[in-house]
């Protein structure tokens, strides 16, 4: 389609460089010990393994506070878990240099709002250059992260619904064997009998709200709880919320 506009000129352009905004899972490293990282990862990824298969991840070094880290070993570990490491952020100059040496990019930016705000600025400066080939990062390229996904049909056994980048609201039953997953919060206004995983990209502030809690599994940011036999009477079939209190997954009646 584009060739009609560009005409023959297109042939001498081998590549096009464009900007785009992506939401990437961030792996926050809190220790320099590869063993500890490995055991923690095993524990956390098991809850939502399929979602992280071949997922690109950014390694956040903020909580490492300058401690040394063997990037080579870390990359090997992540590769074994089918994760694709793309870069580091919040590293010290020394850490960044090591990361670059290990083949990683150094990324700037924090939460999505900041990047979007930054994007707007780029758009301004970009507009002044007339021969701009790279498209500036703009708000239009990505929907706002607050957009919630609303499901009105029952989610049945074997079905999976994923709200990428936002909340998930389900207004019909989630049956046993069904799985509902969101990067943000999950609301279910009908019997919740399947599995619910909120904050799968690591948002520990995500919550799950159910009108009638009968779930098989509840997980927030990788912390999960399985209801194998009888669910505790104080939450069973009740209005319930689940949230993280530190590492502890709290499921309580509303």
């Amino acid at each position: 389609m584009q060739s009609e506009v560009d005409g023959p000129a297109k042939t001498d352009i081998a590549v096009d460089l464009k900007g785009s905004v992506f939401t990437l899972p961030v792996l926050q490293i809190r220790t320099g010990s590869i063993d500890e990282i490995e055991s923690e990862l095993t524990q956390r990824l098991s809850a939502a393994l399929a979602f992280f298969k071949h997922a690109p991840v950014v390694i956040d070094l903020e909580k490492l506070s300058g401690e040394g880290l063997d990037f080579g070993a870390l990359l090997k570990l992540l590769a074994r878990r089918d994760l694709v490491s793309v870069g580091v952020k919040n590293g010290t100059a020394q850490q960044n240099a090591l990361a670059v040496g290990a083949g990683l990019a150094v990324l700037k930016g924090g939460p999505l709002q900041d990047i979007l705000a930054e994007g707007k600025v780029t758009e301004y400066t970009g507009a002044q250059k007339s021969t701009e080939k790279t498209r500036p990062v703009s708000k239009k390229t990505e929907p706002l992260p607050t957009a919630a996904k609303i499901v009105t049909q029952p989610v049945r056994s074997g079905q999976q619904v994923y709200a990428r980048g936002g909340d998930l609201i389900v207004m019909a039953a989630v049956n046993p064997g069904a799985e509902i997953v969101a990067d943000g919060n999950i609301h279910v206004y009908a019997p919740m009998k399947g599995r619910a995983l909120a904050g799968v990209l690591g948002d520990t502030t995500a919550r799950i709200f159910c009108q009638s809690m009968q779930a098989e599994l509840i997980a927030i940011a990788g912390n999960f709880r399985v209801f194998e036999d009888q669910m505790p009477a104080d939450i069973r079939a009740k209005h319930t919320q689940a949230y993280l209190d530190g590492e502890q997954l709290v499921v309580e009646a509303l």
């Binding site: 029952p154 074997g158 009998k193």
Partner: protein, 269 residues
């Protein structure tokens, strides 16, 4: 406009073929020109239940492969006017079914029939997917026990995701629930799920409950669909299913434990 109705369940042995046979017969008895197709290629049973196994010369796969005409393969039912059977092949497997082939046959059948009933094989593999792909309406057959209900739930999910109507974004398939092998006594004893348990989970309209009955087995063995047995509760329950499907509002029957009379209590039964 001819309607394609798939009879499906996910789980095997719940009564899909029995239901297909009686339902198709019931539609034909009401004066609708009806054909029932056996999609269980390789494990054909419908012809046995319909009592026409010795009259099978050409089958569904022969027509798919242009080895015979549709007219040659269709078997006219002996008991009921307006009813035809398209039997499955016993010697082939489900890979013989192709989307283009099935579509061509259904299109041809739509020209001369009011209802096309597709008897699905068990499972969620190719045979079952082909049987439901072109459906306008679906009859979900479930036994009142957890694994059957779970599998029916799965099939409902597949109807909502993988059928042609779902893929084209057309009006969704109209779903109807038939609960078979229902035993009021065992429900009362807590050995079986109740009707409410089943309908709560599947949340689709119920068009009938068929009580567990010896007459179903007898009918299968003699090759006469049980709907012909108007003395039996199962036969009457299937007749009700057809009426409800056609939009008649009837109360559910045969849901409570039969009180045994004095004589049968003395002489046993």
């Amino acid at each position: 406009m001819a309607k394609v109705i798939v009879v499906t369940s996910g789980k095997g042995g719940v009564g899909k073929t029995t239901t297909s046979a009686s339902f198709a017969t019931g539609l034909a008895m009401k004066g609708n020109k009806t054909v029932v197709i056996d999609f269980d290629v390789g494990l054909r049973n419908l012809d046995l239940i319909m009592g026409c196994e010795r009259r099978v010369v050409y089958d569904f796969v022969n027509v798919l492969n242009n080895e015979s005409s549709l007219k040659q393969a269709l078997i006219k039912d002996r008991h009921t006017e307006n009813l035809y059977i398209l039997p499955a092949s016993q010697t082939r497997d489900k890979d013989a079914l192709t989307e283009e082939g099935v579509e061509r046959i259904l299109t041809e059948l739509k020209e001369s029939f009011d209802y096309i009933v597709c008897d699905s094989p068990a499972g969620i593999e190719k045979g079952a997917l082909m049987a439901l792909y072109f459906a306008d309406e679906a009859i979900i057959v479930t036994n009142p026990e957890v694994s059957s209900v779970r599998d029916s739930d799965r099939i409902l999910g597949i109807l909502a995701a993988k059928s042609k109507r779902a893929i084209d974004g057309a009006e969704p398939i109209k779903e109807h629930l038939v609960i078979t092998r229902y035993s009021p006594k065992r429900v009362e004893m807590g050995e079986m799920l109740s009707i409410d348990d089943v309908t709560d989970l599947l949340s689709i309209p119920l068009v009938g409950v068929i009580p567990e009955s010896d007459s179903v087995l007898g009918a299968s063995n003699s090759g006469v669909p049980v709907i012909h047995d108007i003395e039996s509760d199962s036969g009457q329950a299937y007749a009700d299913v057809v009426d409800r499907f056609m939009g008649v509002n009837l109360p559910l029957r045969f849901l409570s434990v039969e009180k045994k009379g004095l004589l049968s209590r003395i002489f046993g039964n």
